[in-house]
Every structure is written in C-alpha cells, then in structure tokens.
Amino acid sequence: MCDVCQDLVDPKETKLAELLAGYAGQKGALIPVLQKAQEIYGYLPADVLRRVGRGLKIPVARVYGVATFYAQFRLTPMGRNVLRVCLGTACHVRGGAKVLETIEQELGVKDGGTTEDQRFTLEIVACIGACGLAPTMMINDQVHGRLTPDKVGGILAQYE
C-alpha cells in the first residue's frame, strides 16, 4: 500500500481488525470484543456488529442479540461524556429524583438521550456502589456524591 492509500485507511478500522485477530478462536470472546469495539468507536454501528460476527464466526443475529441484551452496549452515538445518575435504593431514599429532575432540565434530555451538542449522554442507573454518599452520579469514571440540585450546574460545567 502506498503512503497516500495508507492515509485513507480509518485508524479505527485498523484497531478493530487487530482486536478481532487477537481474539480469533478464543472461547467467550464476544462480550470483551464488543466492549473494546465500543471503546474504539464510542458506540456499536451496525457495520461493526457485522464485522465482529464475521471475525469471530458468530451469526450476526447472535451478536445483535447480545448487544441489545446488555445495558452497556449502545447502538447509537453517545455524547462526549456519559452521565449516569444513580437511582438505586439509597439514592432514591435520599432524594435522587430531585437531582435527576435538575439534570434533565439543565441538559434538556431524558434517560438515554444525548444533548444536541454531543456533550452529554444521560443514563439512569440503579446503583453505582457509592451509597454512603447518596445521592450520587457518575460522569465517565468519576463519581460525584452528596449531591443537591444546586450543586448540579457547577459539576456539569467541569465537563467539556
């Protein structure tokens, strides 16, 4: 391949090909492969599901079945930051719903929605295991605890 053609290859494609090659023939590879493919693409486009099926020799129907069963997998593009608001028991009891309401108003989206500027995807989850600081939310891998509706704006502003 010449230098010009090399530039035309999507680096994500190369990463996916490497990923599939690395897991070829391994038992139980589907879920880890989908997790890593989602890290590469940010979500799981239909074409990626098809290529994962071909690469692991699994019918694409089963790949789709798995991708839609687990909450972690997304078939549509996600925002740059994923905001998971916890509504587990402890957060529910300590007023998580009010915090969620404020976030929904600030962002103008509901559960599963992504803001128009692609800045946030909002998800409601049941327990992120930081119950001692309820109510809580998690933005990407960062946990924010002891929330009150008036703290929300300041925290959201920290994320581009």
């Binding site: 038992k27 589907l30 880890p32 069963f69 028991t89 009891v93 989850v125 049941a126 119950c131 001692g132």
Partner: protein
C-alpha cells in the same frame, strides 16, 4: 548482589525462587526467613523491610499516612488530599521518613475523606486540603494530635481519636475488612507482610484437598451472596463431579442497589480474593478461574488486574504453584450491565459470550457449568473469608456468629442514618445495634420507620422487628433476607408504597424476559402499585397484589423472579395501613406521592413577599403586597418548589 528493594526480592543469591523454579517455603520465608540458610545479614534485610510494612506503635519506623482512596472518598476529594500531603511532607522535610499511602475503603463514607496516621492510629475525618499542613506539623514534628480536626461523636459531642474510640468502628469485628484501609492494595508485599498467602501455603504443604473442604465445612461458612448455602458442602459437590477440567468463578457482579461491600473488598484487599480462590481451586481440583466484575466498578477491576499480574510474577498464580504441582490461572471478565447476571447460570452464560439468561436447574453448575464443565461459584465476600479460615483454623472462625450462621458479615449501611458506610459485625448482632449504635441513629432527629435489608430480593422490616438477631434463618422467617447485606434505613418521610413500587420497577426492568411469571408478573404488580401511588387504587388491589406475588414467587425460573415480590409482601405485611390510606383516603401519610398532595398557603403566616409566586414553574400562585398569596390547586403541578422557597413556613403540604 543488589540490595533488597522490596520484600519479594531475593535476600541473596542463595534464594532461587522464581515462577519457573518455585520454592515451597517461599511465603513463610518472606515473613520469617530466610529458611534455607542462616545468615544474620539476610535476616536483617527481611525484618527491616517487614518493619516498614508493619508499623508498630511507638516506633519511628513505618510512619505512614493512610488515606482512604476508595470510590466514596475519591469522590469527596481524597486524591487532592494525597497530593497536598505529599507536597507538605516535602516542604517540611519529612518526605523520606513518612509515607503517604492511598488505601482501599476505610468504611466511613459519610465522614470521608478519612485518613489514619500510623503508628499512632489517629483518625482524621472530613479532611480538606487546607487541614494538611497543620496535621503534618503537629503529628510528625510535635507528636501531638490536632484536637479540633478529630471526629466528634454526634451523640455525646466528645471527640474521638482512634478506631477504638469511635463508636462506628469500636463495635465492629473487622476480619474480612481487616486489611482494607491499612494496606496499599496495589502492592502484593503489603498483603504478604500482613500474613497474606499463608492460608494457601498451609493448604498446599500440609493438607489434602479433602482436608481443606472439611476445614471449610467445620468453619460453618455460608455463601455471603444471598442464599447462604454452606460453602464447604458446595465445594464438595463440585469436587465429587466427574471430569478432569473444572472451573471456579468469583461472582463480583454486585448489582443489588444499596450494596457495596464487594466493591470495598476488591478495591481494598484484592489479594484476599485471589488467595481464597486459590484455596478453593486446590480443594475442588480446578485449574482455571474467572472474576466476573461489573463494569460499573472501574477501580475494583483495576486493582484486581494489578493484583493478578503481581501474583503471577511472584509465582502464586500459574503452574506448579509453590512447587506443589498445583496449577491455577485466573482472569477477569467485566460485566456489561445486566442485574440478572448475578444469578449463577446467567453469569456463566455471560462469560460464554451469550445473553445472560438463567437456565433450569438441574443440572447444577457443580455438575455442568461453564462450557459444560463442573463449576463452583462463590461471591467476593465468601472467597475473602476463606484465607482466614485456613490460616487461623475453623474453630477460631466459628467462635463468631450464631449456631447456624458463623463468622462475620459486612453490611452496607446507607439511607437516612447518621453514619453511612461499610460495617463488619459478627452474625447475630441485632439490627437495632447496627443502626442505632454503629450507625449513630437517624439523620436530623427524625423517627425511624423501616430498614430495607437484602436489596430487591429482601424486605422492609419495621421498628418492632429490630431486635431480631441478623442471621440467615431469622431474617428469612421475618420475610426479609440477609441477601448481599445492603441495609437501607428509612425514616418517617419515606413512603412504603413508593418503596414497594421502586423495587418492582427495578425488578421488572431487570427481568431477562425468559420466563413468563417474572416478565409479566412483575410488570403487572408494578402497574398496580403505580396506580395506588397516583391515588387510583381500588379496594381489591391489595388482594390481587398478594395473589400475584405468590404466583410469581412460586413459578419463576430463577432467584430474581422468586424473590422479586419480597419487598411488596413485606411492606404489605408490616405497613398495610399506608397502602390503605393511599387507596381509601387518597392520602400519602409520608407526603411523598405527589399526586396525593395538596399545597396551600396559610394566609396568617404569609408575609406577602411573593417569593413563592416568582419561583412557581406552573405560574399558579397569585397575590400582591396587600393580599396574601394563594395557590390555584387545579393548575398546581405539586412540585413543592413553593414549600422549599418560603422562608416563613406559610406553605402547607397535606
């Protein structure tokens, strides 16, 4: 020969241990060695490194500041405190004498970030960056405590300086959590310095597989994940199954809302889980294992990955471990977000790369589990108990607990209680003691109403049940269960109908859909409860609910469906009057269910400031400087903003 940098380094060229050429005495040698030769120089090197890792009171060696960097404290700013401490120690010229260690969870989440000064054992709570300079100066230069930063008991108002004086810790028995908060979970040598891997060393050197199983049976350990099945017996089923290839799995898919003890153990003491699994694998005859951890716990996964790599490098995972001929390989699988995968057969389907749906049993996993091979699953806390049993003996372990529930149990204490956090107590302690002594009672002086125990599979218990001893059998009889150990405390402002609806909403959305009773039944139950909270409940609803609950319980395929009705049945049993108030009087006694509330303004108390009218999102409050404000109840959306805004208490909610 280079000098020893870490405890794991060879003391001199006479030490030949590597993963490829393992030495059977390796673990004992690290803490009591060298054993194969007598050399005062080698001995001094080892004991010097040990002293640094095991600080003793009054000694200048091993001075450290242990900062809780578990997920809770990290979100409260622990990492900023760590860097501030490091900077301050350098500034005061103490950085070579005093180490700052980011540890796993101390358990006192409510008071985080917390730090412990060793060897003095002083505990500081709610530490801010600004406190750091004073703490370093007083503790290490003046050898004094910073009195005004110590924890103050909310009940007595007195300050307490050490774990032994803080009621939250003083009444606990920390066995499984013993290392959490005291060692650096990212360094295997700290675990080894605290007697780590001695259980597996003892098993491999002195005991047969059957003897290990007998020891675990004799300890009385029962599964900590919920069902409470005797662990030793479970192991023996898998051991007796025919077949060369067997698997063991650590269930770290801790999905119960309100439970985070497994997260605490994985983040704070990951090697304890690995050692427990090694002992189990040796007893059962398995050579491969998985840790299935939920993806929501990134720090737990990170610490476990580091721990596995270190154990492999030390020759404690892999082939011919400690020259015993025993092989064991361990890997991690991250869950992908499905509560039902906490069920054994669904979890195994997920590891196989399938949709996580439970299977009909029999065959049981012990006969045909992962990839059709005999498989044994235990949860994190169960595995982490095992090294203690092997090291200290079954009799030692069995001294804790009740006749049929032995040992200690970790509870995640949350909700409307003063001291939230992780609490480890002997089985059989009363709920009242856990909530009111250790937990410090109810927040803001409110009245206790219920404690929800055991997550979506458990139940809500009222005040009159609080003196029950917490053990597997007593709680099941009361209509709740130990479950994974989540304790969510509720006060008078919690509506029990709303709570029942909350749990059914959780169960119906997490139902995998394979069996009809769970898929349809939980949804119908949720619909009825939702109607009741909206004031549309009918007199016959409660009978229908109870009937449905029993059908779902008796006919569902797996534990999720079989236990999903428990929160409804227990609230109906103990709080039936609240359901009746919603249905008959169309009122919510706890003032939670929005549709049943009315907001009015007390004209006497109204100062006519107009704050409420400006804040009202529905623009349904009218009035002016001369006439008291009134709420148009027809237009009111019952959001409660006016109640929160009014400074004179003029808004009345009924």
């Amino acid at each position: 020969m280079e000098t020893m940098k870490t405890l794991l380094d060879p003391c001199c060229e006479r030490c030949t241990h590597t993963p490829e050429t393992p030495c059977r005495d390796y673990i004992r040698c690290l803490t009591a060695g060298p054993l194969c030769h007598d050399d005062p120089g080698c001995r001094a090197k080892r004991s010097g490194l040990l002293a640094e890792l095991r600080p003793t009171q009054g000694s200048e060696e091993g001075q450290q500041i242990l900062v809780c960097a578990g997920t809770g404290c990290a979100s409260s700013g622990a990492h900023k405190v760590v860097s501030a401490l490091e900077g301050e120690l350098q500034r005061q010229g103490l950085d070579s004498e005093v180490k700052v260690v980011a540890t796993g969870c101390h358990g006192f989440c409510e008071q985080g970030p917390t730090l412990i000064i060793e060897p003095a054992h002083t505990v500081y709570t709610l530490v801010k960056q600004g406190d750091v300079a004073e703490i370093v100066q007083k503790e290490f230069k003046e050898k004094q405590r910073v009195e005004n930063l110590l924890y103050q008991d909310p009940l007595t108002g007195q300050s307490a300086a050490t774990f032994a004086n803080i009621r939250f810790f003083a009444q606990q028995t920390r066995v499984v959590l013993g290392n959490c908060g005291f060692i650096n979970p990212e360094r295997i040598e700290e675990y080894i310095a605290h007697d780590g891997y001695q259980g597996i060393a003892k098993a491999l050197q002195e005991m047969s597989s059957d003897q290990v199983i007998e020891e675990v049976k004799a300890s009385g350990l029962r599964g900590r994940g919920g069902a409470g099945f005797p662990t030793g017996l479970k192991w023996s089923f898998c051991r007796q199954s025919a077949g060369e290839k067997k698997y063991i799995i650590c269930n770290a898919d801790e999905g119960d809302p309100g439970a985070f003890m497994d997260r605490g153990v994985l983040e704070g003491d990951p090697h304890a889980v690995i050692e427990g699994m090694l002992i189990g694998a040796y007893a059962i005859g398995a050579d491969e294992g998985y840790v299935y951890c939920r993806a929501e716990y990134p720090l737990a996964i990170k610490h476990m990955e580091i721990a596995i790599r270190q154990a492999e490098a030390a020759g404690l995972l892999g082939n011919n471990i400690l020259d015993s001929g025993f092989n064991f390989h361990l890997s991690i699988r991250a869950g992908a977000g499905a509560f039902v995968c906490g069920e054994e057969t669904a979890l195994m389907a997920s590891i196989e790369g399938k949709r996580g749906m439970p299977k009909v049993r029999p065959p049981f996993p012990a006969q045909s589990g992962l990839w059709g091979k005999p498989t044994n699953i235990n949860n994190v806390e169960t595995w982490a108990n095992v090294p203690h049993i092997l090291r200290r003996g079954a009799a030692w372990y069995a001294q804790y607990g009740t006749e049929k529930s032995k040992g200690t149990k970790i509870f995640a204490l949350t909700g409307k209680v003063n001291n939230t956090g992780l609490v480890e107590v002997p089985m059989g302690m009363s709920l009242r003691k856990i909530i009111f002594d250790i937990g410090g009672g109810i927040q803001n002086g409110k009245k206790f109403k219920a404690v929800q125990i055991g997550g979506p599979s458990g139940g809500c218990l009222p005040d009159e049940m609080l003196d029950l001893p917490v053990d597997y059998d007593t709680l099941t009889r009361a209509g709740a269960m130990v479950g994974s150990g989540g304790l969510v405390v509720m006060d008078e402002t919690t509506c029990m109908v709303d709570i029942a609806r909350f749990f059914l909403n959780f169960s119906q959305s997490e139902s995998c859909g394979k069996c009809t009773p769970c898929r349809e039944g939980t949804k119908r139950m949720w619909e009825i409860l939702d109607r009741i909270t909206k004031g549309e409940g009918k007199e016959e609803d409660l009978d229908t609910l109870e009937h449905l609950a029993h059908v779902v319980k008796e006919t569902s395929l797996c534990g999720l469906g079989q236990n999903a009705p428990n929160p409804v049945l227990s609230t109906l049993k103990y709080f039936r009057d609240e359901f009746e108030a919603h249905i008959r009087d169309k009122t919510c006694p706890a003032h939670v269910c929005a549709a049943l509330l009315t907001y009015t303004i007390d004209a006497e108390k109204c100062k006519k400031c107009g704050l409420c009218a400006r804040a009202c999102p529905a623009a349904c409050i009218s009035g002016d400087k001369k006439t008291p404000y009134v709420i148009d109840t027809e237009k009111c959306i019952k959001c409660g903003t006016c109640l929160d805004t009014c400074k004179f208490g003029a808004v009345v909610r009924a």
